[in-house]
């Protein structure tokens, strides 16, 4: 049919590093395909080849039976990345018309009425109930993504390719997005979605494709698969995981940070204490000032009002929430990205750096977190999303602070690594560190937090003790 995608024997190498080893995949109209697999498996590479970002590949691509170099530059195929290409200062309607021929009334005069109607129709396609004059900057991240989808659909996209677009969204936003994607497949569109979130995949996909080390290892209908089945499917192809043992109860020690009526950005006034030897979890909806609380606790934001008290011995390290923007230094090596926060560790007389030791320590962390590829001299920017996350996490570990502030620690990481990160957080806690986990992913809280709370409108609500909370309880609690 006209929009069938047929991938045959696709291979791709970067220099001497082979990433895809012959992928064969056929996707028919109306399918909703979930593309899964561990970090660095080659999912994004596959999608970037479809998008025409990477040329110079082996094998062939066919679209609607015709051989094509890529699916880029056509109105019937749309790609959604984390960078949505929207202009915050402009209204929804203006964003939808970006790059389109203007609807004219007479000569250079624009026909605003028709533009607005067309925009409203487009929003209806994705089920977004917003006035078309709203500036895009005022929308939540999820709504922005919907606008991007609406724009693609309005241009006639029949195939949508989505790479981890939900990973930065709150659960509610993510749900709205994938539900509206699902609706488009009901009308015959095709969706290919990459995600590490099992619940999302199970909720909407018809078919699940698992990539491992650049090979297709699983391709099956989603029907009859439940959460555990899917985990098994993913983990079956990986090395054995660390079974999560019983957690010891927390033994909170001295205070590491105390926020007293602190106000900064969208947060505040906030009262919050984190002790040594405990994991405190915070969650909340996007735009609730959640991350500003994290910056306050870490010390990278100074309170406008109120106080943040940290004993002088309480060093801090941060895993920032927006990895793509705040995470690291693309052109620098993995090693440099790892060590930037902890340089005094390798200081020799005359303030010179002991680069040999530094390199060795970086190599250790790379091995411990299983960053792939494991050569610390490779450029950080070439890493897959999940591996970047590991490097940013490793940077905090190398700093070895008393207080860890971890924002979205498992964003974009695969099932295996997620467990590994939970285990590490446990280890930090038993080692006497304090951990503040700020996340929009309930699973993180259930897995690691000793007590947790919800941030609403910049304020931290009452704390719940973790014991026997489940994700469901928490979701209901919000």
């Amino acid at each position: 049919m006209a929009h069938d995608i047929d991938i045959r024997g696709l291979t791709k190498s970067f220099g001497s590093h082979a990433v895809l080893h012959g992928i064969d995949l056929r996707i028919g109209e109306g399918e909703f395909v979930g593309l899964m697999g561990p970090n660095g498996a080659g999912k994004s590479t596959l999608i970037k080849i479809l998008a025409g970002v990477h040329g110079n590949y082996g094998g062939e691509l066919r679209f609607g039976g015709e051989r094509v170099p890529s699916l880029a530059g056509r109105d019937d195929v749309g790609f959604i990345h984390q960078d949505l290409g929207l202009v915050d200062d402009m209204s929804i309607v203006d964003n939808l018309r970006l790059g389109e021929a203007p609807l004219r009334r007479l000569g250079p005069l624009l026909h605003h009425g028709r533009e607005a109607r067309a925009a409203a129709d487009a929003l209806a396609l994705v089920g977004l109930e917003r006035s078309v004059d709203t500036p895009v900057g005022a929308l939540s991240p999820g709504e922005k993504t919907l606008v991007a989808v609406a724009r693609l659909l309005a241009r006639g996209a029949r195939v949508l390719v989505v790479d981890e677009a939900t990973s930065t969204l709150s659960p509610a936003d993510a749900q709205q997005l994938i539900d509206s994607l699902k609706r488009t497949t009901a009308e015959g569109a095709t969706v290919i979605m990459v995600s590490h979130k099992l619940s999302e995949i199970l909720r909407v996909c018809d078919r699940i494709v698992v990539v491992l080390d650049g090979r297709l290892v699983e391709d099956r209908p989603a029907e009859g698969l439940d959460h555990d089945g899917l985990v098994e499917l993913l983990v079956a192809h990986e090395v054995d995981g660390h079974p999560g043992g019983e957690r010891e109860p927390a033994r909170p020690g001295e205070e590491l940070v105390r926020l007293e009526g602190a106000v900064a950005g969208r947060a505040g006034p906030v009262d919050l204490v984190v002790h040594a030897g405990e994991v405190v979890g915070l969650t909340g909806l996007a735009g609730s000032g959640l991350h500003d609380v994290a910056f306050l606790a870490h010390g990278s934001a100074v309170p406008d009002r109120g106080r943040v008290v940290r004993p002088p011995s309480a060093t801090t390290a941060l895993v920032p929430p927006y990895r793509e923007r705040q995470g690291g230094f693309d052109e620098h090596s993995i090693a440099r990205n790892l060590t930037i926060s902890a340089l005094p560790r390798w200081r020799a007389p005359w303030r010179l750096l002991r680069t040999g030791v530094e390199r060795r320590d970086a190599r250790d962390v790379v091995g411990r977190l299983d960053v792939r590829p494991g050569d610390p001299e490779r450029a950080y920017g070439d890493l897959s999303g999940g591996n970047k996350q590991k490097v940013v996490f490793g940077r905090a570990l190398l700093r070895d602070p008393r207080l860890y502030v971890l924002c979205e620690p498992t964003r974009g990481v695969d099932v295996q690594t997620r467990r590994e990160i939970y285990r590490l957080i446990d280890e930090l806690r038993s080692g006497g560190a304090g951990v503040l986990v700020v996340t929009s992913d309930f699973e993180d809280l259930v897995a690691v937090a000793d007590r947790m709370s919800v941030v609403v409108d910049g304020r931290v609500g009452p704390f719940l003790v973790a014991d026997d909370m489940s994700a469901k309880d928490l979701e209901a609690f919000i």
Partner: protein, 411 residues
């Protein structure tokens, strides 16, 4: 399915696949696609160009002394190149360096000739002016968040203006009866004269340091397939051979030909290289330039680092002015104005000379020197010296474009 497609089996035969090119030897291909080769390709292209010059111009170009004279005379430009390099690494443009150099040229001459300050105090004052200028730039850019182009354009105007206020807009050269500029600073037999050479012991020490430095640099670029120990041996070999070749080709004259100004340039370069690559500050500087937000969240005090970069740039620019005063023995309005373009050119060339996209100290010195040699060769060959700036512009554009094209190839 392996069946032959019937639609192409008939008359309209599908074009045969292009004849497979004979496989290149794997070793050559691997070398051509290696990072080391890609980083060196511009460097090699320059060397090839000089080989052409050597054939074309013969001994009128290939004299160690003549080419060292080029370096000597262009030391202020190269110092300015290092000055803008530091701020470029931090992601800032410092357009005020040439004016700063002009100002300190006037002060270096004038504070002695007009005010009769003790000469060492004059030098300290000039460097102090460099610090103040850097702080001013840093304050405008970091605290007041003025765009770096506008801020440094403005301060550049101020520095230049101050120099002409100080000199009343005229040339400043010592005359009979004025307190004399010390003979060790300027004039024949002074530290600023090309004819006055560094003792050969010192030159040998510098060469030894450079060899050591080259060894460290090569060793740190170990390809993955070599073990650490084996690569150290290979690196030592490479550097030894390169040194031997250079000494044979005529760099031996380097030992006798090194002037104090060249020595100063090399020492400053070595110091800056150490600061930028071997110390915490350099890491913070690079991080700040690469992604300020990520750097700040990783605990780097980016504002402070940026101000410090402007101060280092200011001091280096002030030093360039002092060297200019030593070389010329006088100061004329806007002496250094024409140096801004070649200084930036040298810094940008460093991203392609023995580097893949990063600003480096040795690249700036080598690139800036090559730039001079290219135009000097043309001048020796008969081109009017007024073409100089045109040549500079062309070399910069061609070199950067060339290596960019070459690097894209790998993707």
């Amino acid at each position: 399915m392996r069946n032959i497609d019937p639609s192409t089996g008939g008359a309209a035969t599908a074009p045969d696949p292009a004849p497979v090119p004979p496989p290149e030897p794997a070793a050559i291909r691997r070398m051509l696609s290696s990072d080391g080769f890609r980083a060196s390709v511009t460097f090699i292209a320059f060397l090839a160009l000089f080989a052409v010059y050597a054939v074309w111009l013969g001994d009128s170009f290939m004299t160690t002394d003549g080419r060292l004279l080029d370096v000597h005379q262009n030391a202020p430009v190269l110092l300015l190149g290092l000055a803008v390099l530091v701020t470029l690494i931090a992601g800032q443009f410092d357009l005020s360096v040439a004016s700063m150099a002009t100002l300190t040229t006037f002060l270096a001459i004038g504070l002695k000739v007009n005010q009769d300050w003790p000469f060492l105090l004059v030098i300290v004052a000039c460097l102090g002016i460099g610090v103040i200028g850097g702080l001013l730039n840093g304050f405008l850019v970091v605290r007041l968040r003025v765009n770096t182009f506008i801020a440094t354009l403005a301060t550049g105007g101020i520095f230049l203006g101050l120099s002409s206020v100080y000199s009343k807009g005229t040339q400043l050269s010592p005359t009979e009866g004025d307190p004399p500029i010390p003979g060790w600073f300027s004039g024949p037999d002074s530290l600023g004269a090309f004819g006055n050479k560094v003792p050969s012991v010192v030159a040998w020490i510098v060469i030894a340091l450079l060899v050591l430095w080259a060894f460290t640099a090569v060793r740190s670029r170990r390809p993955e397939r070599f073990a650490e120990g084996a690569w150290a041996g290979i690196a030592a070999g490479i550097v030894a051979v390169a040194t031997a070749v250079l000494l044979v080709v005529g760099a031996g004259g380097f030992v006798e030909g090194m002037s104090w100004t060249i020595l100063l340039l090399l020492v400053v370069g070595l110091g800056l290289w150490t600061l930028i690559t071997q110390m915490t500050y350099g890491r913070h500087l690079h991080a700040t330039g690469a992604n300020p937000e990520a750097a700040r969240l990783a605990g780097v005090r980016t504002e402070r680092v940026t101000v410090q970069a402007f101060v280092i740039g200011g001091v280096l620019a002030a030093l360039a002015g002092i060297v200019l005063a030593a070389n010329q023995g006088s100061a004329s309005p806007d002496v250094a104005a024409g140096y801004l373009l070649p200084a930036f050119a040298a810094a940008f060339l460093s991203t392609v000379v023995l580097s893949s996209g990063r600003f480096t100290v040795p690249g700036t010195i080598i690139g800036g020197t090559f730039l001079v040699w290219v135009s000097q060769g043309l001048i020796v060959g008969g081109l009017e010296f007024t073409w100089n700036e045109v040549v500079n512009g062309v070399v910069l554009a061609v070199a950067v474009a060339f290596s960019t094209v070459f690097r894209k190839d790998g993707r």
